[in-house]
Structures are given as C-alpha cells and as structure tokens.
Symmetry: C2
Subunit: 337 residues, 2 copies
C-alpha cells in the first residue's frame, strides 16, 4: 500500500477500506476464517465445549509503544487473560480499530505485527474485525477493541463466589511493572534500570494451574486498580476477609522506587501479565508449582489467605502492623491500558 | 450517581468505575450474567448449536443522536445484523465504551437506554463489558464497540460463495435513508420531510426468510459503501454478474432529492436497517413474502438476478441503458456509523 497515513476513505466501506484491510490487517494476521471476510465468523464448537466464555476490552493506552510491550500486544493479552480467567480454552478474537485520520500506516503495521506475535504465542486466532476512521484531532492515532471467545468444558465453574475461609491466595509474580513502565515512558521519567511492562498472555499458565489444582476457586488478572481492586472484588464476591503478607508480594526495586517518588500505592498500580488465584489449602503448593513451571510465573508466591469475617482486604506489613488494603478511589494512572 | 460528566476516574478500575458501571450501565441493561461482573461471561451453548458466529463493530457516528436512531441503537443493531447474516440465532453481545472526560452522564444514560430498548427488541443480551475514559479533547464523547455471539444449527452454511447464475436478489426495503439522515443532521440540512434513519435489528426478518426459503444462499446488510459495495462483494465471492433493475429499488423521494443536491450516488449511501439476500429462483417469491411479512420488510422487492460472467455489478435504468455499479473509491460520508 502506498498510503503513508490513514485517510478518512480507509473507513469508507469502499475500495480504500478493502486495501487497508488486505494490505495491513490481513497481511499481519489473517487466517482462513478472517480471510473469508464474512460479516460474521463461523467457528466450530469443540466436542468438549459445554459453554462459551466471552469477554471484551478496549485499549487506549498512551503512548502506544513503551518498554516491554505496546498497544497491540496489550490488545491481545488483555482479552486473552480475561477470557482465560474463567478457565476457558481461549480460541478466537474479534478486533475493532478506531483509527485517526493521519495516523502513520507504518506504525499501524508495527502494532498489527505485535498483535500477530502475541496471538501466535497465546494460540488464538483473530477471526473477524472492523475498521473505523475518525477525523484528525479526534481519537489518538489508534484505539483497539478486542472481544474474545473461549470454550469451557462441562462442569467448569470458576468464580470468586466459591472462595472459602482457609483458602490460599497465589500470585504469579511481581506487581506494578506495567503501570510504572507506561507512566515512566509517558512522563519521560528515567530510572537506573528501565521498568518493563509485564504484558503477557497467561492462558497457558492458567491451564497449568487448573490441571495441577483442579479445585481452584477462581482466577483474576489485577489490571486497572491493581492487586488491591482484585482482592476487594474477591472479598465482596465471597463475603470474607482477604489477608495478604506484604513480605510475600514481589515488587521490583525500581518499581518500588518509582511508586515512592510518585506517591503511588503499588498495590493499586496496574499489571498486564499477572494472575491471582485462590485455591483450597491442600492444593496451594500444587498451584504454586504449576505457576512457577510456567513461562510467566517464575516469581509466583503464596501471598496470603482467606479468613471468615466482613468483606475486606488486609495487608500485614513486615513490621507486624496491619492496614486495610482499599480500592482506588480517584484516578491514579489514566490511559495505562 | 451525582456526577454530571464523565471523569478520568470513571475509567480507573476503582470505586468510581464501579459506580458508573452500576448506576449507568447495569441500571440500563444488566441481566443476571452481566451483573455477575466476571471478567468473562459464561454462556450456555444451545443443544442445536453446532457452530459459533462472531462479529464486531465499533460505532463512531457523529452526531450521536439523529432522526430515527442514535449511536446506542446503531451499536446494537449493527452487530446483531452482522451476526444474523450468517443465519445464526443471535444471543449475546459484549460492549466496550470509550468515553471522553467531560462527556454528559445524562446523554450517556440516554444512549444506554436506547441500547437496552434495541437489545430487548432484538432479543439479545449484553453479557460483558469494558469502560475506558480518554482525556478531554480526545475521542468524541462516546465510541461504542459491540461484539456479538450467535449459534448456528448444524448444516447451516450461508455464504456468498454459494451464489449461482439464475439466483434472484431480494432487498428488504428502501435504500439511502440512514446515510442521508446522519449527514442531514450533521450539516443542518433540512428537507420538507425529515429523513429518518432506518437503523433496526433484522435478526427476526432473517429468521423468517431462512424458514420460508431454506436454500437461501446468503444475506448481507448494505451498510458503509451501500448496496453497490454489497453487490460487488457478492460478485467477487461467487465470480458472476449481479444485475439490478433500478426501477425495482425503492428510494424515498427526499433521499433521492438529498442525493441529487449533494452529488451522492444513492447506491453507495449507507443503510442500517436493510438486508439483501440471494435465493434460488424457485424460492424468490417465498423469501419476498417472508420479508414483507416482517416488521422491517414491508417495502421488500426482488431487485435483480445473477448471471454467468465476470464478477461485476450492473444497474439497468428505466430508460433501457445499463451502467456499471462500482464500489465507492474515496470517502463519501464519514462517521455515519
């Protein structure tokens, strides 16, 4: 394609839209289903598929490229992870672009290449899509919505409502990396070591935990609102107390330094490649071992437990004190996903 | 909710995001599945479901409200219609919002109410969602992505590749209404009669046609690029000629007048409540009767036929001449969906 920037006509439904679809999107990641270009993709249900899992996420991160990832990788990983938390085998993605008139086609190609790579790694297929173009000065170059479809085998019903007192809380690795990577990149902050986003597809990690700990209660990825939001959501859903030992939660030194400098609570900072799961105590070690054996779970740890009580989350500090781990109230880090 | 406009914190993942979700989105259209607020919705596959149909569309129409419809109604109908074209029973929608900081909560409620009404009419359920907020001056108040899931009974395989010479082309009603309604509203054009958008869910109309004409080849809704794009896509897919009689295509007089005034080819103007189907000749009358018996098909007509030849679309005028019905090349009416 000779066009160097996005034109309004690329969203017209006419020949130019066909061209950007063929030469940018299809050439980056189309398989047989997407290439059919039907209005709806027709997808087989696997023999063991008893239910469909559906999730969606729109990505408006600013800037589009930052250490460790970019908006394309996020757009795949974020939705893959949301679908995978249900215990589903994630299979298919839809993809809706909002492009700004004048956006660089070269940059769009880089975003699509990153999507293609993340989709390959996750083992998912982009099967249907849509392209809209908004006038120059609106949007922000590119926004990407993805919706994901997975299949749940019969009897699999993971949900925070199943959490019980005595259960253990397992976290797949360090917290705060993604939010700090994006904000550092945006604000031009530099640290002695660059903080890398942790954005990663965690569907294989989840599958390994489900196999090793078949009574696992639920998974959730602590994205916007951070680990604090996830734990509060768990507490609300099951009506019990979540207790976390601060010493068991991995925070990389440069992330901790950035949080101190910027006045952020690292427990409220977003992650894009971490998973929290709650398991019955007798399966905690198996779940931990499964995480640690997975590509993105080397730093996994059992970080706490569930106790009977009012729905609240508590953090036990290394100094013996306890504080309430509250949900974020205002806005801390806008546009980080 | 006391907030009068969208705040960045409404996209934070924290308490304020929970509030806008509960008090605006859930109160407008949440059923049991959405209220569970799991990261992924878990949905039953019906016994006859042999395949899953998936489609997505993002809506960036400007203005948000225009005669006959609004961005909320479009966001439901557009995706319902895309999924329904496959012959699937449309069941579930995901919904991703991109909100602009400062956008009116009252207007957002009106958009959500319109979505709820269109979803009820279509008989579909919004089961999962996402909310992002972008800074003031970016976006345009609200963009909405919906992805739709439907189920295809075993053996149903509708596709333009099945079109054969001799087949008839059936159109469910007048063309050009939606595009002209939006552009008139945006440009402040007024005609003696207001042109109303035709935005409508057509899944029930399609189901009626499939029942009456079981050998129907395919459906497509002529949205961006208009009827001309749809016919050219059909021609490409089946490798044959599409012939349409202009006299059989209904165009409302005020739409024709607007097209003449603005220099638009009505065959390239978008529709949001029309369906084209191709049927074998022996089922054409049954398909037509089924459309005419449906709420949105009173003006349905057999508008042409398929002939062997090179993939092209032709329009036969009432004066006996024939012209090639080409796809739109540039951009005619940006932001009409």
């Amino acid at each position: 394609m000779n066009d160097e920037t996005v034109l309004l006509a690329h969203g017209s439904g006419g020949k130019m839209m066909k061209r950007i679809i063929d030469e940018v999107f299809f050439s980056a990641y189309a398989g047989d289903v997407l290439r059919r270009a039907d209005d709806a993709a027709s997808l087989p249900i696997p023999p063991e598929g008893a239910r469909v899992a559906l999730s969606t996420d729109t990505f408006v991160v600013n800037p589009h490229f930052f250490p460790g990832a970019d908006i394309g990788r996020l757009a795949i990983c974020g939705t893959v992870n949301d679908v995978a938390t249900s215990g589903a085998d994630v299979k298919y993605l839809s993809c809706g672009f909002v492009l700004e008139e004048g956006y660089s086609i070269d940059e769009l190609r880089r975003v699509c290449a990153s999507m293609a790579e993340a989709a390959r790694e996750a083992g998912v297929e982009i099967v249907t899509g849509d392209t809209k173009v908004v006038n120059r000065g609106h949007g922000d170059g590119v926004y990407i919505n993805t919706a994901g479809v997975g299949f749940l085998p019969a009897g699999r019903d993971l949900s925070a409502v199943h959490i019980k007192p005595g259960d253990k809380i397992v976290l797949s690795g360090s917290i705060g990396d993604h939010g700090i990577a994006v904000i550092s990149s945006r604000e031009g902050l530099s640290f002695s070591t660059t903080v890398q986003s942790d954005a990663a597809p965690l569907n294989h990690l989840i599958a390994a935990v489900v196999e090793a700990a078949p009574d696992v209660r639920c998974f959730r990825d602590p994205t916007r609102g951070g680990l604090a939001s996830t734990l509060n959501e768990f507490a609300e859903a099951c009506g019990a107390e979540m207790h976390v030992n601060e010493a068991d939660v991995v925070v990389h030194p440069q992330v901790m330094g950035a949080c101190e400098m910027l006045g952020y609570d690292v427990f409220q900072v977003a992650n894009e490649g971490k998973m929290v799961c709650v398991v019955p105590p007798q399966e905690a070690d198996a779940a931990l071992a499964a995480m640690r054996g997975s590509r993105y779970g080397e730093e996994a740890a059992i970080i706490g437990e569930v106790r009977a009580g009012k729905p609240r989350a508590y953090l036990h500090t290394p100094f013996g004190s306890t504080r309430i781990l509250d949900m974020l109230v205002g806005e801390q880090l806008p546009r980080i996903c």
